[in-house]
């Protein structure tokens, strides 16, 4: 616990990461991985048919993608790693150690991708004829390939976080990279990206080709064919992927798609998912058979539907991994599974370098009338409880915001006073009660401190600022204990 705890007490840390990550996935899959090959295909098709209209359309679509991927796409890509390393530096640290060379290659591939998209876009108007045009088309397919490789590398890391597989035994990059979830997930995401690109292009075509231009129907029909072509592979890939998800994680599925309160609605939700997928196919089918019949607004429907589906898919994927951030290796609170025995013996705080000072509202929960010595002791307990909370719970919970503990406690214990006696037993067993939570990591005394801290949340609804706002103090006891193998 060598880093101060970054914390957002309203949105929740998960909300921050999820927001950035979902946006990035939509841009990356839809506008880069899927769209670049589609644009190259359009260019090639137009070239073969000697039909300049395809060329003009492809260029305009590419230009949109170019603007968005090089700005919002690149920013959110960096943003994911930035936000994740703020929220959980330990998991990123572990991933970096395992995937160092993969990330290094990723960087090279990404730079290549950026150069290619610049070259592809900027040479479009100059490499028009004969050999130059053919070279330009090849450039487009190379761009598509490199976009796919950037995704293919990162997907391995995502798979690793779900199930590190043999890496747990032999700790090699190779076995980490070829984790059991890797290929199934890649087989799912690749056609998903292609379909998403088709759906996006369907929305764009009417912007660039007039309603009365017969080419509009031709273009819509062609893009719809592309879109539909990959749908069966999504289903097949999805099926394979689902089979590769560890069994224990599937138990989390019900809570993951909704929240605890709604987990009984899983069937309705699944029906909604199936219905949404069917709606996409139906609109695209009509777009093929009667391209002139589909109004522009109807073409937006598949886009919204696929965005909704993908966002949910990512959310579920992130959630069902719980209680781990890296399957069976590290819990979502950033503590390694193997360190638990040590932490339970010595206490969590023995290894915590920083402390998050109490807010005035928290201090006010200790009666001012107490004799000074007693008050100081109570404040000290509260401070320890807060530090335990920040280290053990705050990566998944806020106090009163999204997934707030106070709301959970209120649901469980109502208006009874949340004394340590009342909550302590539950906390000691919380990983059994809710398998997506890690076991409590600290000592018995720390469980008491935590309960004390939770108790004051019943009356105190003030938000708790993270280290980024409140600053930190170095814990006086820190450094007295060092984890095995660690040196200062």
């Amino acid at each position: 616990m060598d880093f101060p705890v970054f914390h957002l007490d309203v949105l929740g840390n998960r909300g921050l990461i999820a927001g950035i990550a979902v946006l990035h996935v939509l841009i990356n899959h839809g506008l880069a991985v899927g769209l670049m090959p589609l644009v190259a295909c359009m260019e090639w098709y137009g070239h073969r048919k000697r039909d300049a209209r395809w060329d003009a359309l492809a260029y305009r679509i590419l230009f949109c993608a170019f603007i968005v991927t090089t700005t919002a796409g690149a920013l959110t890509g960096v943003g994911i790693w930035l936000s994740v390393s703020l929220v959980n530096p330990y998991s990123i640290g572990s991933l970096l150690r395992v995937f160092f060379w993969a990330w290094f290659v990723e960087w090279l591939v990404f730079i290549t991708e950026v150069c290619l998209i610049l070259a592809y876009t900027l040479t479009w108007k100059t490499w028009r004829e004969g050999a130059a045009k053919r070279r330009h088309i090849r450039l487009g397919f190379a761009l598509g390939l490199f976009s796919w490789i950037t995704m293919a590398i990162i997907v391995s890391i995502l798979g690793f976080m779900m199930d590190p597989g043999n890496w747990l035994a032999d700790n090699t990059l190779f076995s980490g990279f070829t984790n059991p979830v890797y290929l199934p997930q890649l087989a799912f995401r690749t056609p998903l990206a292609a379909t998403m690109a088709g759906v996006i292009a369907l929305v764009l075509v009417p912007f660039f080709v007039g309603r009365d231009d017969p080419f509009r129907r031709e273009a819509i029909r062609a893009v719809a064919v592309w879109t539909l072509l990959f749908c069966p592979f999504i289903v097949a890939g999805g099926y394979w992927y689902y089979g590769a998800v560890p069994e224990a994680m599937k138990d989390n599925l019900a809570v993951s798609v909704l929240t605890l309160q709604f987990s009984g609605w899983l069937d309705e939700f699944l029906l909604l998912v199936v219905g949404t997928a069917i709606a996409i196919v139906v609109v695209v089918q009509v777009a093929i058979v009667r391209p002139g019949l589909v109004p522009r607004t109807a073409l937006v429907l598949p886009l919204l539907a696929i965005l909704w589906l993908t966002a949910h898919f990512e959310r579920v994927r992130e959630f069902i991994r719980k209680p781990y951030v890296i399957g069976r290796y590290m819990y979502a609170n950033g503590l390694r599974v193997d360190d638990y025995a040590l932490l339970r013996r010595d206490g969590l705080l023995a290894y915590a370098t920083y402390s998050n000072p109490l807010t005035p509202a928290e201090q006010a929960s200790v009666p001012a009338a107490l004799p000074p010595a007693e008050r100081a002791a109570a404040l000290d307990r509260l401070q320890k409880g807060k530090d335990v909370f920040m280290n053990a719970c705050s990566r998944c919970h806020t106090t009163h915001g999204v997934n707030g503990v106070a709301d959970h406690l209120h649901r469980m214990f109502g208006n009874r006073v949340w004394t340590p006696d009342l909550t302590g037993d539950y906390l000691a067993n919380m990983h059994n009660a809710q398998p997506y939570m890690p076991p409590f990591p600290g000592s018995q005394a720390e469980l008491g401190f935590l309960s004390t801290y939770l108790e004051q949340l019943q009356a105190n609804r003030e938000p708790v600022p993270g280290a980024q706002q409140a600053g930190i103090t170095v814990r006086p006891e820190s450094g007295s204990k060092l984890a095995v193998g660690e040196r200062r």
Partner: protein, 130 residues
């Protein structure tokens, strides 16, 4: 009389009406086994029809050899068949009063229509409407 002339206006209107009535009937019977038999038979018949049309399209002298154009001949029919199967699955797997069951019926009718509708030729798209 109005109905008859409406049906004559476009050659596919008759079959579409037939399909809608068939599916309505199937839905009302509420016998899953019968539904499955009739459904499967309907799929098979439509599949053969679609296959013949696709073969003819492949053999037509002015066809293009580009992959997109070939895929465009096969894909719509194949998709409709696949979706018909999905629809039957929804119908059979869910109790008669459920949303999923009704969704299956609607989807089944829609996909059969997709199977019998002749595809619009893009080159003449502006001329022959609907």
């Amino acid at each position: 009389m109005r109905l008859l002339s409406w049906m004559d206006a476009a050659p596919h209107r008759g079959p579409v009406l037939n399909i809608v009535m068939l599916v309505l009937l199937l839905g009302m019977i509420g016998n899953t086994a019968l539904l499955l038999c009739v459904g499967a038979a309907t799929i098979a018949v439509s599949a053969i029809g679609g296959l013949r049309r696709a073969m003819r399209a492949m053999a037509s002298p002015d066809r293009s050899h580009l992959p997109l154009d070939r895929i465009a001949i096969w894909l719509p029919g194949a998709t409709a068949l696949g979706m018909c199967a999905v629809a039957l699955l929804l119908i059979v797997e869910n109790p008669a009063s459920s949303v999923a069951h009704s969704l299956g019926l609607v989807l089944f009718a829609f996909e059969l229509v997709m199977l019998v509708l002749p595809s619009e030729r893009p080159s003449t798209a502006g001329v022959s409407k609907g």
